[in-house]
Symmetry: D2
Subunit: 342 residues, 4 copies
């Protein structure tokens, strides 16, 4: 069986990474590629690393162009997915790589995005309890944000096993590709090379309620997240350093056991051997998540660190993984846990 | 008046940065330069950026070589400073850029360094309450660690004004020069470019007790610090993202007022205007500290961020600033708040 | 059919990249992995990006360990391959990723390497005229150097079609992984980030005679190469900027036609559309070579530029491509022309 | 004596670097700062590394604003300087950091810039024979381009001493700040980190005729330059790798002697000791030029390499050096040969 897929937003970083993965996916035929401002251009001019598609020409993002595919991936600015999805039939699998359908709480959506809530779709983080069941057979998928993917998988076992207090503190460093391909002065190479800087400090980043939603579901009680993202001088990768006060009685052994149990059967989440810590270079281009956890006795805190590729597991890889589940394909099809290093 | 200074450890990164600053210092004459494994080599082969000293030859680090100077800077591996200092007269100003004399608590020293405590010297962070008085006229100075400089100055006003609970959570990103010039595989360019990774996770980094000492002094009660350092793909700079639960009743206005008051007269600490955040690129090569603070209402936490150049304010600039105070020179002599950007 | 392969030198950068490719090769079973100083260590500690092999333990590089494989890849320091190969049977395919068997001229070998010439094996650059025939069925392969791969493929059509004078001038920039994983001060991240520097200037680089050998074969007359390599602040990639005086009468159209003809059927060499130029980012992790050529009328020179990934097409990908030919497999098996960008 | 200076174009990279240098210049008082699109903004928001000027507000670039200064620096897009300069009195020293007045040959100007030639001003490369005399007392200065500065100083002694044939081949790598601060997709950090790429290949770069002009003047005969610039993953620095066929009889000793003689008394050009090669990191933020030369016997070519900071000696430092000469100040005032490394 081969499914025919279209990609809306093929000229950006998320779209390019998705195409890289789809080219290696044995069950997929790549159909329409769209992009609004770049419609009419060959993909070779926009994504020169994707040689097999160099001659393909971008079309405008319209319902007509996207019609006739089994799967449509949306890599669009937030606020645009609902209208496009409404024009596609219910039998089409729509995988939204944007934010529109991630949050269950309309109030949280409106507070962070300032627009009416579009709804909630099955959430494409299969490692969350219950997520696989919701994805199976679904024809709508909301792919998680890159930071929430990294942070949720870093802290999930601690909260699921009741080992951490419900106030998480997260500082995460992201490569610049997470900020997209639209040219902005603060994203110029001259500005970012040699520099680390924070943004959205004080609770303002839009991924914050998504993290709280995931961790709260795992904990069975509300979890607050103090989240500070930072921009790092690298193109790809997220390193999430997460901590929370330990629940009374929590030991390093408890943590190790909880993480080992949680991820023993997960194909993409890899708990590192004790004493080794994640590095984003090790997951470059890979769908793997490297995780490690420690207990700091002096501060009485659980410290969990994860590394992902923001474009792969954090966006396009997560999207393909969810597509596989929705279509009933083996979950790992077309995905790899092997990074490109150094 | 011109003082004659010697630098022990002139071939490393701290020594090189110190020489860069001393070359611009109007009250200093550069005397002996030493380095053990590199003794006999011209400085031009080891520090090719320091053209005016290219022909100077490194001598071995001995008491004879260091004798006859008014000031001796020690940029040596920890554990070596005490023996060298003992051979220099009490009238010589000895500025130790290593860790040996920073901690007041012998038990903390022994726990983190595993060797007998050598003693405690006046601490070269003039911005700490009481520090300037202790430095004036002193002939021994312990220069702070780079991370403690960044973290202390980020959180000092919050603790000094009773606005934060005594459990700080710190995640800091450092450029690779902080790890020194000795060749190690994990510090190769191939390994660090494109990668973020943590180290010393779980409370193990030796700078942790120094941060707790400084913040505890400011708070007037013990402060625990959960500290996670990360290695960033850049040569210089520290970005310290620090937070703590807010004391009940703390507002954003309280924080702003406390930081403005604390740093209004500090020549090197710059509280950024509201809405702007520190970036390490802005302090590259500068002795300035850029600081910003916010209150996160959802998490009820104080978030303070600072950026320094780890080699300048974090090491060699802090050393020169302390030397100036000890010698009775204007504190800013030879130092600049101007960075090299982009 | 599945062949069983061993990799001698699995802990270095070339060995790691080779394993990454072999893991994706459908006709290969990975057997022994060896490394001398790292023998006994799990690969997960040395190559953390290769998750599927994390538990494999390195063995010492001995004839006993390497025995019983169909293919043995040697990623060893130069001078060591001959002795190892001599202990392996003639029926074993030995693919040497080192320099020992690349040069046909013993005098050139001795001048550049200072040791006796070990011999000459079929040369693993299939795009050279006659190379595929020599590789088919061979049980010994000398993989080209990374710079010669990039330079030869940039200039080959110009020389093969008699469009350039036999004095080539080459300046190439390489990522730091080309210098290997052994820790050296000048390869530290602190040294290479933000810096470009040349090395081996004036004709001293050992890859120079190999380029001359390849281009001379294409031209049918001796070609001199003025080669200046430079170290660039990136982990991977070679950008080779090559030029030569145009033969009288050469036009831009001649050049375009020659390059189109030369590479029309090559699976891995991609002549870019006119007006677009190679970038190393576009071939990151790919076995593709991006090539472009221009004629500069004012200087009357042919300018050809190529970009490769030094570890993939420049080393491990070239090795796999040659293995495929030697074994009679489709040449592209397990190899990709898709890069990882950004 | 203190001169009052204005800077037109203070928000860009050249303007920012100029201000950094002027802040350290003892004979200068910084007056009006202008910028068109950023007029009204505080400099602290645009150049956060220049703390002492953080509160200064940008004004529009008009004759009224620029009036009343002794010196006016123009960091404007090419084509705009003539109109501004015409409105300033003849007694005002106008230092143009743009291209408008660099070329003596109107035909070359029109061919490369496509607009009428504005004229020729004394050329601000004091190291060129005759340049200092032309600059002394002049009230108009054309600051050289960054690439021509690096390339001219690399090859000048070879041509001035008749040691090289008049066909130069240059490949230069530049940091991204040379491309300016206006946001463009190909200059995003995501695009440039990890990538080397050429541009303007085949003789199209506008700095080419300027190099030919300088080298031709030194040689006393026309010199052609085959120039290929490349964009390197660093913010600052130019490494120029230059070569030319040796004139018959040229020896390595001839070259060394010529370079030693040429630069013995130059305050900013440093011929490295034999065996050491320039690195851009060594001149980061410095006005120094590091130069080395070699003779390649096999290719019979002279190979000369220089490293500069494109924003310092390549733009703003060269401008200040020329201002000093024009005003009769010591040439080195406010400039340094010390880099910031690592």
């Amino acid at each position: 069986m081969t499914v025919r897929v279209a990609v809306a937003g093929a000229s950006g970083y998320a779209g390019g990474e998705l195409l890289r993965l789809l080219l290696a996916h044995p069950g997929v035929e790549i159909g329409a590629l769209t992009g609004n401002s770049n419609a009419g251009q060959p993909l070779g001019a926009l994504q020169p690393h994707l040689l097999p598609l160099a001659g393909r020409v971008l079309e405008p993002t319209t319902a007509e162009v996207l019609a006739g595919h089994d799967v449509v991936f949306l890599a669009l600015p937030h606020g645009q997915s609902a209208a496009v999805a409404a024009q596609l039939g219910d039998e089409v699998l729509v995988v939204d790589m944007g934010a529109d359908f991630r949050l269950a709480d309309p109030a949280a959506w409106e507070r962070f995005y300032g627009s009416p809530h579009a709804g909630t779709w099955p959430y494409g983080l299969p490692e969350l309890p219950g997520a696989r069941a919701a994805l199976e057979g679904s024809r709508r998928v909301a792919v998680p944000g890159c930071y929430p993917t990294a942070v949720t998988l870093a802290l999930l076992p601690a909260y699921a096993h009741g080992l951490a207090e419900p106030e998480a503190v997260v500082v995460a460093a992201s490569g610049t590709s997470g900020a997209g391909k639209a040219p902005k002065t603060h994203l110029l190479g001259s500005e970012v090379m040699g520099s680390m800087s924070p943004y959205g400090v004080g609770g303002g980043h839009r991924h914050t309620p998504e993290m709280a939603q995931n961790l709260g579901a795992a904990a069975g009680e509300p979890v607050t997240v103090s989240f500070t993202p930072t921009l790092a001088p690298m193109a790809r990768g997220i390193l999430a350093t997460c901590s929370a006060k330990a629940r009374p009685g929590t030991t390093a052994q408890d943590l190790r056991a909880a993480y080992e149990k949680a991820y023993a059967d997960e194909p993409f989440v890899h708990l590192l051997p004790e004493g080794r810590w994640p590095a984003t270079a090790s997951v470059h281009g890979s769908n793997a998540v490297h995780v490690q956890v420690a207990y700091d006795p002096a501060a009485d805190r659980v410290i969990a660190v994860s590394a992902i590729d923001n474009l792969t597991k954090g966006t396009a890889g997560g999207a393909v993984q969810s597509m596989n589940i929705a279509l009933g394909l083996p979950e790992e099809t077309g995905l790899s846990t092997i990074g490109i290093a150094p």
